[in-house]
Symmetry: C2
């Protein structure tokens, strides 16, 4: 007689974004025909750029001709794409071997699956943070129960990110083993400095911990002095895995393409250099069969000179959307932070974030994401996503400004 | 201090197919310029059909236009594709709700990940079988160590498939909890009858076990009397998950698209109907972000009337390749089985299969897959894949017939 993986029952509620979709669906049942304005999920809205479309079309065309058709590729990704990714790091002074780069179907699966190659240990997360880090460790059995009073899972180290620390945490006082850092941060949209990252690299090396560094939003860093990769701190190769994506920067949310870097220098307890790299290789070759070869052709095109230039246009578009949202929120006398790319606003009078979610939906027909959905320190905050058409963003901001009853 | 998931160290060697690639690479280093003929990995070689290409092109074109661009879709897959899959089952008298169908990036990831929603338990596998079933359960900690004498992992129930039982096993005498069945079988290429499947459905219901049914090769069943889905045994909805793929039938090996069916009627220990379905839903929404929307447009086209008709041409092509291989092997006086689509041949004089692998490569320049790679009962057998251009298949067969020293 077989049972279920009981760790699933420790999860408090469903995965955040489908839950929100469910609530919005119910609102629409009660208010049919309402034009709900979406600043919720960070879903890209602008079409792919010409270079990427050309790449994808080439990918499809290759499959139509017996001379260029290819079936299974390497699970780790096509060599040309891995080389293009390595080159891109190289331009910023970071040297990676292609064997350290693993192409995937996106940053979400990688940030979900990466924990599976490690043993038991204490995980530490920024609070608030992307829910996948916590949920996957709950499912993997690394945590205790959910405590309804603290809104925390037992055995997770929550590192508060708040106004006082500019939304970047201090290193934990406890001994953490796996540390999740997201920079630029989802949900706060704030960017860490190299010195801030270095405090964690130093901590990880001293405590023989591993940093899981989610760089999915790196394209939204505008200040050239700020680090776009954790490997800009050279010692990070000894302790950090970096996860990245084509989703938000190049519009690949639905195309599905990302990559992870697992340096050969990274060592953990009782292992030789290269062991963690080889474990992720074994994981990927056993559980995964490579990203779509069409998507990979698109990725190669996205990293060409033309592709990179064009995607900067997309990035600027969403950044400008963010400014419009921020200006609107601030015009109401509410505080707003971030912008890379998410806007992290304070709710009026520290209203609970799920209550504000309802209020914003009912009064302004705008969907956002309650801060509490990202962790207890997200309470009193609210995430607004700049991914949308300019006119929709403007409409949503207008509706917030004019219809929200403060 | 964090360690690794030590269950990885229980694995005996790397994942089978990259291992073979490595050996062939070394052979080519020693014998540069040799034209190695590949009957190893079941990699499709023929271009996608016009209907599928049209669908993929439409998928790309949609992403180029602001009016049709879409980002994230549902993690479970697009409704139109799920409906097309449900309709396809319906034509064979099987009724499924779309909420029971989960689109994925292929049968390999699904058959690897499905175990993660279950608790501890004894797994049972056909011996020989696709190595993903065993390897993922080793990594998940459901097994003991590898025993070099028996070539078996401890705590796995191996169900021998051999000439005596027509390569379909009897139900185990022990109590199994998770039972993997692959039909048509990889690697033996043999097809089970409805009565044979029913013995396992009855066993599963009696023992409250779950069957993981891998139907990735169902398109290669030519006899209309033989079941193409386990749900042709009606009680299977109470105990079986079915995994399927567009890879081999439609040439999507590199495009990446598949689906799994998790019936709501399926119950396990202490759970209500729908619970297992909701667990897989939670797993997919948390660890996965949907299959590429381009691939999904291709999948919708593949299931259209035109798409299905065209893909039958592909299937027939590979089936004919299989016949050519079988005839060649038999002309040497060696026994060959299967054909749906793999050919499962006896090695000459019961030669160990890895030894035969070397012999075939050295003498005939042909790569196949050693039976022992699929489990201990695969010893003395060898898998030949019919996926290849006709002229390459003919060349390989000719080279086996004329160059192999028997």
């Amino acid at each position: 007689m077989v049972g279920i993986n009981e760790d699933y029952d420790k999860l408090e509620g469903g995965y955040l974004f489908p839950e929100i979709g469910r609530i919005v669906g119910k609102f629409l049942e009660r208010n049919p025909g309402t034009n709900v304005l979406k600043l919720g999920i960070g879903n890209t809205s602008e079409p792919l750029t010409p270079a990427v479309i050309e790449g994808l079309e080439r990918g499809v065309k290759n499959l139509a001709d017996v001379k260029t058709y290819r079936g299974y590729g390497d699970e780790q990704g096509e060599k040309r794409l891995r080389e293009a990714i390595a080159n891109n790091y190289n331009h910023r002074g970071i040297e990676l071997d292609v064997s350290e780069i693993f192409v995937s179907d996106g940053a979400k699966p990688d940030s979900a699956n990466i924990q599976s190659i490690f043993g038991a240990g204490n995980i530490a997360v920024q609070d608030p943070s992307y829910p996948v880090y916590v949920d996957t460790n709950v499912i993997a059995g690394r945590t205790g129960k959910f405590n309804k009073v603290t809104s925390q899972y037992e055995d997770i180290i929550y590192m508060p990110c708040n106004v006082e620390n500019n939304f970047f945490p201090d290193v934990p006082e406890e001994k953490a083993d796996l540390i999740y850092l997201c920079n630029p941060n989802n949900p706060t949209g704030t960017v860490a400095t190299k010195n801030q990252l270095k405090t964690f690299v130093d901590y990880a090396i001293e405590n023989e911990a591993v940093i899981i560094y989610d760089a999915a939003y790196q394209a939204f860093i505008t200040d050239p002095k700020l680090p776009r990769s954790i490997y800009e701190v050279p010692e990070a190769k000894d302790c950090a895995i970096e996860i990245n994506s084509f989703s938000k920067s190049h519009g690949f949310t639905g195309v599905r393409l990302g990559w992870s870097v697992v340096p050969k220098d990274l060592v953990v307890e009782n292992t030789e250099p290269g062991k963690v790299n080889s474990l992720w290789n074994r994981r990927q070759t056993t559980f995964f069969n490579g990203a779509s070869n069409i998507a990979q052709e698109g990725g190669i095109a996205a990293l060409s000179e033309k592709g990179l230039k064009e995607s900067q246009g997309l990035v600027n578009y969403y950044l400008r959307n963010g400014e419009i949202i921020k200006e609107g929120v601030e015009s109401l006398g509410l505080k707003a932070y971030g912008g890379a790319p998410y806007i992290w606003m304070e709710t009026p009078d520290k209203m609970p974030s799920w209550e504000f979610f309802d209020k914003l939906l009912e009064e302004s027909y705008v969907v956002g994401t309650p801060g509490a959905g990202f962790g207890p320190s997200g309470e009193g905050f609210f995430r607004l996503s700049p991914h949308g058409h300019r006119e929709d963003i403007e409409k949503a901001v207008e509706s917030i400004v004019y219809n929200l009853k403060l």
